[in-house]
Structure formats: C-alpha cells, structure tokens
Amino acid sequence: MNGWLQHLPILPVLLPLCAGALLLLSSETQRISRATIAICATVAQLAVALALLAMADGRMAAPWPGEVGVYALGNWAAPFGIVLVVDRLAAIMLALTSTLGLATLIYSLAHWKRAGIHFLPLFQLLLMGLNGAFLTGDLFNLFVFFEVLLAASYGLALHGSGAARVTAGMHYIAVNLVASLLFLIAAALIYGVTGTLNMAELAQRAAMLGAEDRILFNLGAMLLGIVFLVKAGAWPLNFWLPDAYGAAAPPVAGIFAILTKVGIYALLRFAVLLEDAGTPAPFGGEWLFYCGLATIATGTLGVLAAQKLDRLAGFLVIVSSGILLAAFGFSGTSLTGPALYYLVSSVLASGAFFLLIEMAERNRTAAADMLSITLEAFGLQDKHESEHPDEMAGVAIPAAMAFLGLAFFSCALLLTGLPPLSGFVGKFALLAAAFSAAPEASIQQAGMFATALLLSGLTGMIALSRLGIRVFWDTERPAPRLQWIEAGPVAALILLCSLLSLGTEPAMSYFNAAAQSLHDAPAYVGSVLPATPVKGAP
C-alpha cells in the first residue's frame, strides 16, 4: 500500500494527461462516455488533491518523511532529475484547481462543450498544466507546464469562435507568447549564471554568487518576475485580461479565474526561495506592494466603468490579484496566511460569478452589447432545443429567478468582502494582520493597504448593485430556464465559500501553517536536495 501511495504526487499530472489523450481519441459523438471519462478523471484528481492536502499536514500518514514531500521522477536524485514537490501550499492550490475544475466541467456539460470541438480534452490538459505548475520543483519544467496550460487555454479561449473571441484571443495569445519568450530568456540567464534549474539548488547557489554574476542573475530574476506579473494580471501588464476573460465562454472564464493565481503562486514560491539571495526586485518588498496598489486602482476604475457583467467580472479578478500582490509585497510575512485564505475564497467566488453571469443574461435577446457575437456562440439557440438526447438530466429548475438573485447576491458579498461570507473574513484577516504585525514605520503602509482594500470593496458593491438592478429588475424579460447541472455547480461553489467562512478557524490555521512552511525555505531546500553540498563549490 505504501509503495503505491508514494506515487500519489505524480497522479495530478498523469490523470488529466491520460484522460485528455483518451478523450482526444474517442469520437465527439459518444457524448455520455466522454462526459463520464472527464468527470471521473476530475473527481479522481480532487480525491488525490484532498489526500495530498491531508498528507502535507500530517493528518494522514504520508509516505515521505518530514513536511515537504518530494517525488523524484524516474528516481533520479534532485539536482540531476526533475522533482515534484508537495507542501501545504501546493496541496491547497491543487485542491482549489480540481474543485473549480469539477464545478466548471459539470456546468459545461449542459451545452457549452458542444459550442466547438475538443472542449473536454483541452479542459483536461489545462488542469494538467495547472497541477504540474503547482507541483514542479524545476524552473524549466515550470516553463513547460506553463506552456501546457497556456496552449490549452488558447484553445479554450477561442472555444465557440466568433469575431469578439478571436480578436480578444489573438491579443491574449500574443501577450502570452511574448511572456513565454521572456520566461525562456530568464531561465537561460539563470541557468547560465548558476548552472542549475532545480529550484532548491538555485536557492542555495544564488546565495553564494559573486558580485559580477549577481548582476546577471538579478537580470534573469527580474525577467522571470515580469513574466509572473504578466500572468498574475498586474498593472501595467493586464490590459489583455478583461477582454480575454469577458469574451471567453462562461465555463472557460470560470476556470480562467485560477490562471492569474498561477502567476501569483510562482511569484510567492520564488520570492521565498530567493530570499537568501536578497530577493530581486519584482519578487517582493516595496516595489511589489506599490505594483499591487496600482493594480487595485486600475481594477477598481475598470469595475466602475464596466457596462457589462462579464467585463466587470474580469476587472474584479484584477482587483483580487492586486490585493494579493500588495499583501505579498507588504513588509513582513504575517500577511501570507490570510492572503492564502483570501485567494481561495476569491477564486471560488469569481469562478461562480463567471458561471452565474451567463445564466443571468441568458434571456437577453441579442441585445446591443452582444451584437458582435453570434447567437450560436452564446448558445442562445440551445435553450429552445430541449429535445437533445443528453439534456434528459437537465430538468428546468423552478424559481430560477429566485435562485439567480440569491446566487448573485452571495457572489456580490463574496467578491466585495461584506459579511457574513468568506470574502469578508479574508479581507478582515488581511487588515487585522496588516495593522497588528506592522512595525511602527509601516503603519502608513498598512493605512494605504486598508484604504485600497476598502475602496475597492465599496466600488465593487456600487458597480455590482447597479448592474444587478439592470439585470434582475428588468420586468420585460422572461425568467430564464435553468438546468440542475448548471445551477448545481454555482450553488456548490457558493456553499463551499460559506463552509469556508463557517470553518474559518481550522481553515485559517491550515493556511497559516502553509505560510509558515512556505517561508521556511531551508526546510524546502533540505527536503529536495538529499545531501547539502559543500559551500563555495558552485
């Protein structure tokens, strides 16, 4: 049993890869078997992620010693082979990915997967890229997993086609291709200077670089930081984001809610590992803090200016990215735990919100704001075609409008951070940590952070209530028809957020433990590298 369990960390990569390949080979017409494969693979990923979550915390007997689990691919020892590393943070991100993935997948089965071909295989490959990026302990492997998830996301962003999607998708692809090239330059520079790609060994070697090499290394690290900031949607590199997310099909936008957090995760991971090397600029400190504040400001302005719910949701994603960046840039490490709590809550809420928007706006008859998008692309015709064989499961639920209103209200509370749901708990914990842990000098910093946080919440509330009134109190509109498999995932995501706020204490202690073990870079390095090499021998 133990022999089998030690292979658990590779499963989040293998499962979606195999499922994706299987789905690619099977015919598009076998709808039920394809849906079954996709759901089984995603449920299995969720189970694996939950098991890893328990193991990383020591609640379940882990097959590895210590807190950080290391899986050496092909059993090659760390600096030479590629390793996967499981700690609490990676396990949290894995669980979040598969939870959101499962919800959006179930939602997409209603009719979205028919808006174009290869939706299900691309979706699995996206999950594979996400899981791999969270697990890997190798810089170049991180690049490869980024490419896997980006390649899948390019396909998904274009899913359903239409002029708006293709134009927005083209910008998205161009920006990310340039970012990938920068990633390559950064990885090559870092390898050229330190002679390693393993993240743990990199942390060691970066700390003992000479002055000449340090300039080149900092250049490489800076480029790497810029790449992660592009992915995270930080100002001024985020103008592609609202268009790409707003134009994407709803289940795609739902899973995209976690894509920006991959950049934030990578930024955080490298910031901690490179701390000994004097943390190059983009990874932390004042610089990142002000970058985060600027991101919050642009996101907030965008929220106020947005005329459509999908663009509004895109700007809300930017605001949450900005809050996280500012929190990680805040001096001291006490904000990391609350920031992780906020991250989980905001990803779940924005995922639910993206799914909800389409249901709420469904009965808009080709309104002016959709003129550029074809009817087919929005699946508007599908609601008249309930005789589709696989819509047997989709009985229209009663009181659809009441459900939508309630769900919208909960999402608004979550996204703007009003009590009693988890959005409030996350923001409150962030503010409390900022004020209590701040040394005397940075009380000003805490004040700025609090102002940005509260103002962004207020404007979010204004914009959401304004657009909510327009959508829900529109008397001329017939009530939309909803299916259980569309409403279910949204309800489940919101319910998860409520559970998160009910179980704040255990959740927060887990997140704080995750932050602690994350900031314990020597433990990470010690677990990954079997024997610490002699100092001064790079």
């Binding site: 170049f140 490869v144 490419e147 980006l150 390649a151 390019y154 274009l158 086609s161 239409g162 002029a163 293709v166 134009t167 998708g169 083209m170 910008h171 692809i173 161009a174 291709l177 340039v178 990938s180 090239l181 390559l184 330059i185 990885a187 090559a188 520079l189 390898y191 050229g192 790609l197």
Partner: protein, 115 residues
C-alpha cells in the same frame, strides 16, 4: 565568434520587437518568429560557446567536463524550438480566422480610421 553571435542575437531580437509592435497581424507573427529565433540562440549561448565539443561523454576520451559542451542548454533549446514552433502555428491559424471574421488584418480587428 562571441561578437558575431551576440550581434546575430541582437539583430534578430531588435527586428522581432520592432515587428511585434506593428499593427498588422502578419508583422506580429513575423516578429514573434524572429524573437523566438533570437531566444533559441540565446539559450544555446548560455551553455557557453564551444567549438568542436560534443555534449555526450565518449568513454574513449574520459569524463573530464572541460572536454565537453554543456548538454542541458541543448536539451532546453530543443524543447523551446518545439514549443515556439507549435504556438506560432497556432497563432497563424488564429490570425487567419481573425482575417476571415473581421475582414481586416489589423490586430484590433478593425481599421483604425473606422472608429
């Protein structure tokens, strides 16, 4: 050799960035391709430029690392070539689709003076 190599990388990257900032999709894809070539050469150079050194250890010649080229950048550059090739092909399809749907090859999907 270093100066020629550096000039080649610099010229490729410079032309690539110039083309990338142009408003037509064809220029953008050419820019991306040139930039990708520059990056691939750059990765290669990070293993240090060596003449006549194989990256594979020859048992007859012994295992002194000074006699061999660094194999890691060569492996990286292979991966990078494959990935940039595939994504460029994908971008080509998208720009053709954009041309077909919008009737223009401007990156914004419409001519700037139509607004």
């Amino acid at each position: 050799m270093e100066i020629v190599f550096a000039l080649a990388v610099g010229i490729l990257a410079g032309s690539g960035i110039y083309l990338l900032l142009r408003p037509r999709t064809f220029q953008v894809i050419m820019g991306l391709s040139l930039l990708a070539y520059a990056v691939n050469l750059f990765i290669f150079a990070m293993g240090r430029l060596r003449m006549g050194a194989a990256p594979i250890i020859d048992p007859a010649r012994g295992s002194d690392p000074a006699m061999y080229a660094d194999p890691v950048p060569q492996a990286l550059v292979l991966t990078a070539i494959v990935i940039s090739f595939a994504t460029t092909a994908l971008f080509l399809v998208v720009l053709l689709a954009s041309r077909g749907l919008n009737g223009t090859d401007h990156v914004d999907g419409r001519e700037p003076d139509q607004e």
